[in-house]
Symmetry: C2
């Protein structure tokens, strides 16, 4: 099955059949000058569309709007901006989100109800809706516009997050933005997935849920989630193949492809966390339950003390075990094995005589692999995060100023 | 009632009748040279003693030992070291903790079972027990030795945390250490409370639980708790007054005194968080339930983004509301009021035209008071934390190296 999937070099959200995209500068971002901050994804055919959203009780206007419209079998477009979150903006925020949708619909010659909306950026400010409406009128979408849109959705990200994966019969493309305020549950601020696969609506919802659970929900940058976190899967069926349901022979191939592209993007988000120098990949195995494995893995990648130690190339294994201990996962100290970068530091809960200099050297390279074996059961989970650097604090002290 | 309580200037853990303490250098801490790192609290009379301990599934040897011995009506002493946590140390760790107790008992001429043990410092290293046993033999305890012990228990703390509070009929003294790995539940690494009040065992346990709940469990430095977190209340009854039970007329006065000293110490710990420049005091009021109020207040003081914004004197109110939203507390955006430093920024969920420069100026001073009114119910809770600075990361990148 593995061989049937391949990542497309230079792939992006417009790699699947029938999708086009474009972006422009609406002046929402103050710097750099003329930065892209607004864009559109457009599908030639209506899309079966599912979404996963933040669990934060403060929800941005776009999340409220999308939750109302999804799941749907009639989505044609998405309009998205960066630089302003349109969260904490009350009724005016909702009206602005509706204006974004209707302007986009007018531009594309479709109905306003066929358009989804997304925003990311500073919380608590109103969108400069007039200049955005004017800017939307000028956006040109094209089949290779995914790269432009990938740039338009970034905030403090340093690189775009784009990928596409191809299998016999369908392609899935994706773009995302991450960086700050990234934490389970909904470990990404924004991820847009598009596919030409012909999938049925129930399967669309369930497969997105499963993929998000093992990818974005296992990413932590700083322990905060945001009012805006959103993952969307738009499927336009233009592959022309038979419809895929949960029972189809193609179902597991589609799920595998979706999982792989989501994990690829999740790793890219963690690698590019604010101020991050390296990716941390923590795998907890032989846990008593999958909930325990997930909780322990996420606690390790979320711990400020673990993240700071890894920033300093410090094999401070006690902090890793303490973080797992704090997660609530069942744990018997005398059974634990711990590897860092493939080197065993703890066996049956006892520290081994390991080559400290070698581990310090390994910690200098990204990714840093942490493997904690609880030796209690059969469950396993992987979480991703990044080191904590003084730059993270600097970036986040100065964000609105 | 308020007037009946007063803090004793220069008060400490030996301020109550019959308690003495002392400390020495056992060479556990590597720097500075000759740093105090070992000490004893001794009571002339056996103490009714209760303890509250970390909820981390990784528990230090001393926590396991104390949990076995408490509650008790026959505790006479406590031996405590800094520089090494004696956690992640297996059987040898337990044996070393027992050796600490028996050496202390021998030194004081009491039974080993009458001695409690506590440790703080680096996880995963064995105690240098031989030099500790030798050092214990030299410790002199005295009625003003609390100040020495307060220094001996510090790790990355920059100042001692000491206080004593006096009421008609009894005195309560305390020392504590905090700084890193401080998070609910059990927001302090170590806090030792002593009193000459004549309290009954059940009331001792319950009153400590109540005080810890609204003080140490509401403090967060970095979101990590430790395998060592411990609060102990030792009551030797030497006030000679009538026994206080939950039903006594004195019960509420004692509870109030215990609450006040614990909150005083909790604030001191938060103010001295690693790399901290200022204390953050977040009060959530009119919440639907006390659980909601507590969760929202703690989420605000735990948020890396809020903490970094406050470090940068940035009135980024969106992060405060988003943190509360993430806590799971019931919240209706259109009902929220938010004050920073007494200035109202949000009313009924809408941003007011506030004097931004004035708020920036207020944010430069410690403490920073955040008041979030949910306008849903009657519950109220306060949490304490500190700003997040680049120094925090530097300190925690270099801790074991």
């Amino acid at each position: 099955m593995e061989a049937a999937l391949e990542f497309i070099p230079g792939g992006t959200v417009t790699s699947a059949k029938g999708f086009s995209a474009g972006g422009t500068c609406a002046g929402i971002k103050k710097s750099p000058k003329n930065a892209l901050d607004l864009g559109i994804i457009y599908s030639k055919a209506p899309c079966i569309t599912a979404g996963m959203f933040t669990k934060n009780n403060m929800k941005s206007a776009h999340v409220l709007l999308c939750q109302k419209r999804l799941p749907s079998n009639a989505i044609r477009a998405l309009v998205v901006n960066s630089g302003c979150a349109n969260a904490g903006t009350g009724k005016q925020g909702i009206n602005n989100a509706l204006s974004m949708a209707s302007s986009t619909a007018e531009r594309l010659g479709i109905a306003a109800e066929e358009v989804l909306v997304a925003s990311t950026g500073i919380i608590g400010k109103q969108l400069p809706i007039d200049s955005m409406v004017s800017a939307i009128k000028t956006i040109e979408v094209s089949p290779d516009g995914g790269h432009t849109l990938a740039r338009a959705i970034l905030t403090t990200d340093t690189v775009t997050k784009e990928a596409a994966i191809r299998a016999e019969g369908f392609t899935i493309g994706a773009i995302a933005k991450g960086s700050g305020m990234v934490h389970p549950d909904m470990g990404t601020l924004l991820c847009f997935l598009t596919t030409d696969a012909n999938i049925e609506m129930d399967f669309c919802t369930r497969s997105l849920g499963q993929a998000v659970d093992i990818s974005f929900n296992m990413v932590s940058i700083d322990g905060d989630n945001s009012p805006n976190d959103t993952a969307l899967l738009m499927a336009n069926g233009l592959s022309g193949k038979e419809v895929i349901t949960g029972k189809s022979s193609q179902a597991s191939l589609f799920q595998q492809a979706l999982n792989e592209i989501c994990i690829y993007i999740a790793r890219a988000i963690a690698s590019d966390g604010e101020g991050a120098g390296k990716l941390i990949e923590a795998t907890v195995s032989s846990a008593a339950s999958i909930a325990d494995a997930r909780a322990a893995a996420r606690a390790i990648t979320s711990s400020s003390l673990v993240k700071a130690a890894i920033h300093g190339n410090d094999p401070n294994w006690g902090r890793i075990v303490a973080a797992a201990g704090r997660s609530g996962a069942e744990m018997i100290e005398a059974k634990i094995d711990l590897n860092i970068g493939g080197i065993c530091l703890l066996k049956d809960g006892c520290q081994l005589a390991y080559d400290r200099d070698k581990v310090v050297r390994l910690l200098k390279d990204s990714p840093v692999a942490i493997e904690l074996n609880l030796n209690l059961g059969e469950a396993k989970a992987t979480a991703w995060g990044c080191d904590l650097s003084p730059e993270y604090v600097t970036i986040n002290s100065e964000y609105t100023t």
